[in-house]
């Protein structure tokens, strides 16, 4: 596996200096694909494509997921970051709601306690 000692720019530069890897990123920008698909498209051996995908994955530019016997590749971080940001916004909405719900539940508990005391008296 390729090793990097520099910062993120160096990583990207080294990764993207290869025409096949740039092509794979362009391809995945259009649609997710299996390693087999990519190998066929770029007329490479499966092993060769696995190496390229491994480099892209290590750089965080691509993520892969194995379902059954097929390993599917998709674009990495930027998409993941967007997804994470999207989820976080949604989470904040519900978190704000649930903070208010906490107060309602606390109030109900408090009332119940008071009512229970009254009943016992």
């Amino acid at each position: 596996m390729v090793q990097y000692s520099g910062g993120p720019l160096d990583v990207s530069f080294a990764v993207l200096s290869d025409a096949t890897r740039r092509g794979v990123l362009e391809q995945l920008g259009r649609a997710d694909a299996s390693i087999t698909d990519l190998a066929e498209k770029f007329r490479m051996t499966l092993t060769g494509m696995k190496k390229h995908v491994g480099v892209l994955e290590q750089a965080g530019l691509v993520t892969t997921e194995k379902v059954g016997r097929v390993r599917t590749c998709k674009l990495g971080p930027r998409r993941l970051q967007e997804e994470a940001a999207w989820i976080e916004r949604y989470r904040q909405l519900w978190d704000a709601r649930f903070d208010e719900l906490d107060k309602v539940v606390e109030e109900l508990k408090r009332k119940e306690k008071v009512d229970g005391r009254k009943k016992r008296e």
């Binding site: 949604y90 709601r97 649930f98 539940v105 109900l108």
Partner: protein, 171 residues
Amino acid sequence: MDARRESEVAPMKNRTTVERKSERELVVTRTFNGPARLVFEAWTKPELFRQWWVPKSMGMSLLSCEMDVRVGGRYRLEFAHGDSRSAFFGTYKEVTPHSRLVWTNEESDEGSVTTVTFAGNGGKTLLVMHELYPSKEALDAAGTGAADAMGETFEQLDELLVTLGTSVGRS
């Protein structure tokens, strides 16, 4: 007065998690420090529901809230956001007291089906809300809608937090 009571009683805040289970499904979870019976009540009595569904940070106000919580019963919430008005409405499909609620959302053909389960455990309740959308696009749009609703008020919230942050030391 309130602050004092809360600092004595309020336990640590529980975390809300959101996970996108698939392109069309979203799952929100949170534990509440109260029995399922009470959490369920807060979801099914309109006078309680309206106290929490539209937090101030949403920048909206709830104009009305009608809920007929039984199978086949309908709900309708009306909001004001600046000069614009909107409504959120649909039908309850399942109502199992203290444990499960299912409702549809019918503002458009792209409405979701929401399932909320309440699992009591030692005086606490684990709430799991599952939303199923008819398409990936519909779910994407729902998230973006939430962002729009929250977005502009986040800055105000940040300011508030800074203000609060300066007074945290005293408790």
